[in-house]
């Protein structure tokens, strides 16, 4: 089942350490947001593979916005 990964805070996409097809474990950072000088990882809620990355570096994302999809 595909599962959307949502940003838990508002921030700017600082890094995207994963790409579609990558296997991730529960708790692995899928993207890293920067907000107020802090780097905050958005983590995979469970193990799986990255189906889609919906953001690009430098983009502002709002809390609750989908940043990636896991399958």
């Amino acid at each position: 089942m595909p599962e959307e990964i949502k940003a838990h805070i508002t921030g700017v996409v600082f890094q995207i350490p994963t790409k579609p097809g990558d296997k991730v474990g529960a708790g692995d950072p899928v993207i890293v947001l920067e907000s107020m000088k802090m780097e905050i990882p958005v983590e995979a809620p469970r193990a799986g593979s990255v189906k889609e990355i919906r953001v690009r570096e430098g983009q502002t994302v709002q809390e609750g916005e989908t940043v990636a999809v896991l399958e």
Partner: protein, 447 residues
């Protein structure tokens, strides 16, 4: 003499500097990013110049745009504030090349103290104690392990080009070292463009005590006593005070003498701060901040002296306005930093719009705020909203005023550190002046 100062910063510190310029009859020019078009610091200044988009890299960190703004406005001096370009020696040099007076130390002093291993070397050379560790960056994880074995665990890995806690990693045993090494070097490279890391003994229950120094172009250097800044989280200070409570008189004398000797050794001019770690075995130099500190108001309150005005005087070529004997601590002052962070989410940033802002007023209270009701707290900048400084005839009175003022603060629209600060102000250990650098993160003040 200076005439017009461009303030290369934002938020509360930009407002504080504009006020300092007024105190000396100087013109003040603000700069602002697109996100700060309506910010209070823009309205305070005589004139304001747009310098670019919201991301700091394209505005407040862009040396060329700031120099161009200074030229356009006819400013003859630049005050960098803290953060942003304040400890960038290339910026200080660019100001000088453009014929602008940089309100701060020389590029050489900024550069020497910005390189943390160079700073340790320079300080050790004049007898300032340093934390046991590697004198230079170490080559790899294996070399770090050899140094760590020599000084004993736990150790801390620190970025040589670093500051602000970025790239630091605590290592409690050898098996953790390789992973911590990889993290620290990667973060140092990402944040500072240099991956060099050095190793220091990790002081478990130390206090962070720092000394304010001030030098002029004729070589005079004074200290303005100490500040206790142990209550921190993520290596960022939350509470600062002066005098440092329960500080042994001999240690205090040692700290201030070391600070003056250190500043003199590098020919330091203008305001600066030497940070020390104090434990039961002694004190150690940590680093020097070659700029005005966030917490400078506690020093102003207990000495009755205006640090920003003195910065302007000294940068304009005047001699230090005070002799050492004239700088006395009277009473006590405590500052807290109110950040837009959510205590319920492990202090994650809490951007948003401030829908209500109620700030207390009263005897012995000073507020330095970068925001007003309606301000938008952006994801692009530091989460500091305002500082609350309480002063009293003694520490008990200052802390009582602080506790009362914290109860009266009202912020709606963003989450803040106010609940944590209220618990700190009421805590028996804090009331007794017993603090260390681990307390906040170890949960001493949790609800």
């Amino acid at each position: 003499m200076l005439r017009t100062v461009l303030v290369a910063n934002r938020g509360e510190i930009a407002r504080r500097i504009v006020r300092g310029c007024r105190a000396r009859g100087l013109g003040a020019v603000a700069v602002y990013s697109e996100a700060d078009r309506d910010a209070p610091h823009v309205k305070d200044a005589d004139r304001a110049i747009a310098i670019g988009p919201a991301p700091a890299r394209e505005s407040y960190l862009d040396i060329e745009r700031i120099i161009a703004a200074a030229r356009e406005s006819g400013a003859d001096a630049v005050h960098p504030g803290y953060g942003f370009l304040s400890e960038n020696w290339r910026f200080a040099e660019a100001c000088a090349r453009a014929g602008l007076t940089f309100i701060g130390p020389s590029p050489e002093a900024i550069r020497a103290m910005g390189d943390k291993t160079e700073a340790r070397r320079r300080m050790a050379a004049v007898g300032v104690p340093i934390v046991p560790g590697s004198p230079d960056p170490v080559a790899d994880a294996a070399a770090a392990a050899r140094v760590a074995a020599g000084i004993g665990y736990p150790v801390i890995l620190k970025a040589a080009a670093g500051g602000g806690g970025i790239g630091m990693a605590k290592v409690t045993k050898e098996s953790e070292l390789a992973a911590a090494w990889a993290t620290a070097t990667r973060r140092a490279q990402a944040a500072f463009g240099r991956a060099e890391v050095y190793v220091e003994r990790y002081v478990e229950r130390g206090r962070h005590v720092e000394v304010q120094v001030f030098g002029d172009a004729k070589g005079a250097v004074v200290h303005m006593h100490e500040r206790e800044c142990s209550l921190q989280r993520r290596h960022q200070k939350l509470v600062e005070e002066s005098p440092a409570p329960n500080l042994d008189a001999a240690v205090k004398r040692g700290l201030t003498e070391a600070a003056v000797a250190g500043a003199r050794a590098i020919g330091y001019t203008n305001a600066g701060t030497l940070e020390f770690l104090v434990d039961e075995r002694g004190f150690y130099f940590l680093e020097m901040n070659t700029r005005l500190q966030v917490e400078h108001p506690v020093t102003e309150e207990v000495t009755g002296l205006d640090l920003v005005a003195a910065q302007l005087d000294v940068a304009g070529g005047a001699a230090l306005p005070w002799t050492q004997d004239a700088i006395r601590q009277r009473g006590a002052a405590v500052e807290v930093r109110v950040y837009a962070e959510d205590p319920a989410k492990n202090f994650l940033p809490s951007p948003g719009t401030i829908t209500r802002l109620g700030l207390p007023r009263g005897e012995g209270l000073r507020i330095e705020s970068g925001v007003v009701e309606g301000s938008v707290v952006s994801v692009h900048y530091d989460p500091l909203l305002f500082k609350l400084i309480a002063t009293g005839a003694d520490r008990a009175q200052a802390v009582a005023r602080l506790a009362g003022a914290l109860e009266a603060c009202e912020v709606e629209g963003v989450k803040t550190t106010l609940p944590l600060l209220r618990r700190i102000a009421a805590h028996p250990d804090f009331r007794r002046g017993v603090v260390d650098t681990q307390m906040v993160e170890q949960g001493a003040f949790n609800a």
